[in-house]
């Protein structure tokens, strides 16, 4: 199926689907549906969805390569920005509903409490990625630099899982499941990279094919030439 041709019909419903968790929280919030400790429910839910979207974002590239569907990369920015969106909501619940803007307390927390240090690191590293997610920024940075910068998502993913793992009291089931997912997604990249080095080939030529391989060589284009000629929707492919 030629997904690329239908992408403008697929994207809006995917976007709305990504908003469901937030909408659900808002709806339940207004209808007394968040349980006896609503603030905790919001904190946990937004945190879980942040990690989920980080994982979804990291799934795009393996899926694209395994299915030979380069068009999938066009969803990556959206997923990444949703991870940032839920991460921002998560941070907001802490800053506002937990600490009530007591910045002195927060600084102490970041310094003293490892799980907050990890969570805060994970979030802070997402900021430059969100800021440089626009096509203009990609062009300005150049594809290679942009790609290298955006590998910070790997650190965010690991720090995010550690943050979750360190805060649970005893039942580590869910954080460990996230850890497994992140391990698989990052492991894939390690293997993929090693295989490419071994084969020594990095370019198979042709638009959409060549630039899709490996981070090492290939034309470091900021804006790849999409087959539909659109100017704003493209992001450099690997990573």
């Amino acid at each position: 199926m030629d997904l690329a041709r239908h992408i403008k019909w697929i994207k809006p419903p995917v976007f709305l689907l990504c908003l469901v968790p937030a909408a659900r929280l808002a709806w339940e919030g207004f209808h007394d549906g968040l349980g006896p400790n609503p603030i905790e429910t919001i904190t946990h839910s937004t945190g879980t969805w942040t990690l989920t979207f980080i994982c979804v974002t990291l799934t795009v590239t393996p899926l694209r390569k395994l299915l030979h569907q380069n068009v999938l990369v066009r969803f990556r920015r959206m997923f990444g920005l949703f991870a940032f969106f839920y991460g921002s909501l998560h941070l907001m619940t802490y800053v506002w509903l937990d600490k009530f803007f007591n910045f002195q307390d927060m600084i102490k927390d970041v310094y003293k409490r490892p799980f907050i240090t990890a969570g805060f690191t994970a979030y802070v590293l997402m900021v430059p990625l969100a800021v440089t997610s626009t096509s203009g920024m990609i062009r300005r940075l150049g594809g290679r630099r942009w790609r290298n910068l955006h590998r910070l998502i790997y650190v965010t993913a690991i720090a995010g899982v550690v943050h979750y793992y360190w805060l649970v009291k005893i039942d580590e089931t869910v954080p460990l499941r996230f850890a497994a997912v992140v391990a698989i997604l990052l492991g894939y990249r390690v293997v993929d990279y090693a295989l490419q080095k071994k084969s020594g080939t990095s370019s198979r030529g042709g638009p959409g094919g060549g630039s899709a391989r490996g981070p090492a060589r290939g034309p470091a284009r900021g804006v790849s030439s999409g087959s539909d000629g659109s100017t704003t929707k493209e992001t450099p492919v690997p990573a």
Binding site: A23, W27, F178
Partner: protein, 320 residues
């Protein structure tokens, strides 16, 4: 159709608003959520299954008012009964209300043993008759940083202790929760070193505030709150309470306690509520009272200053 007057209703019969709202509306987000939820580890079943309401206990009559009660507004029945830490059933807060529903609390025997002159086994009915039942409205502070105000029903544990006559060797009391993997699904998932045991120094156990508890909100304890009997020690973090208790043993040596065994640097034997001693991972200076938006300052001994004399001369940072 039978229409009950509000006065005839038991608290346990009232469906909390957030439960029926959930039931009516869970379908809306369910389809989308289910797929995504599978990724996250919360199974779709957890989302789709409407949480049910605990059948709840019979009314307890002729309760004596207690001078130990706080005049504070108490937390809603729904919150008290649907926000529980009871790992024998589930590690989620709303899990115990569902998974403890069919827990059998009758017949129930409590064995009181160890360093006592008159060891005795009590069935629950006779134990409830040892002393007049009082309503005690206590603050309850969880080590996790939330708190509630609960109208408990019971009498001072000292009544039971005096009856069995501890010997001169008895320095501590160990409390043990029931161990029944068939009925307690949480036990099959590991976690703590089961059965759950807790302990107090004898003078702490003898303190009139320490409650042997059979009910809340004027009714028999709901299963998720530790039916048919539990302890309540209001100046300590909630985990010092022992739910669904089957054994009280008097000892010479300090007994091992469940959370202390699981993580000795985070959970001490004493675990008195203390805003100046932080949990290694979070602050204990403030707490969120369920039902309130802002946080409150946590009080030393949870506001029960009358117990301070139990700890004279002790370093409470060391003996956390």
């Amino acid at each position: 159709m039978l229409i009950k007057k509000p006065s005839d209703m038991r608290y346990s019969e009232v469906t909390p608003k957030y439960l029926y709202m959930n039931r009516r509306n869970f379908l809306a987000g369910a389809a989308a959520a289910a797929g995504a939820a599978a990724l996250v580890g919360r199974s779709a079943g957890d989302w789709l299954e409407p949480r049910s309401v605990q059948a709840g206990g019979a009314k307890l009559e002729n309760l004596v008012k207690s001078p130990f009660s706080t005049p504070e507004k108490y937390t809603s029945y729904d919150a008290i009964t649907h926000y529980n830490n009871y790992y024998e059933f589930s590690t989620s807060k709303d899990g115990p209300a569902v998974k403890a529903q069919n827990f059998k609390t009758n017949p129930w025997t409590v064995s009181v043993e160890g360093e006592v002159s008159k060891p005795e086994k009590f069935d629950i009915a006779s134990l409830m008759k040892l002393a007049p039942l009082e309503e005690r409205i206590y603050r309850h502070r969880c080590v996790e940083g939330w708190s509630i105000v609960v109208p408990w029903v019971g009498y001072s544990l000292s009544v039971l202790i005096n009856r069995v006559q501890p010997t001169s060797k008895a320095k501590f009391v160990e409390f043990t929760t029931d161990l029944d993997p068939k009925q307690m699904p949480g036990l099959r998932e590991g976690g703590l070193d089961w059965p759950y045991t807790e302990g107090l120094r004898l003078d702490e156990a003898m303190h009139p505030l320490t409650l042997l508890c059979f009910g809340l909100y004027g009714e028999v304890l709901p299963n998720q709150n530790g039916a048919p009997l539990r302890t309540v020690i209001p100046w300590k973090y909630g985990f010092k309470c022992t739910k669904s208790m089957v054994k009280v043993r008097f000892t010479e040596k300090q007994p091992a306690t469940a959370w202390n065994k699981a993580n000795p640097t985070e959970y001490g034997f004493y675990s008195n509520v203390n805003p100046t001693v932080d949990h290694p991972r979070w602050s204990q200076a403030t707490e969120r009272r369920l039902g309130e938006f802002s946080k409150r300052k946590t009080l030393m001994f949870n506001g029960y200053d009358q117990v301070a004399s139990l700890y004279t001369g002790m370093d409470l940072r060391k003996n956390f």
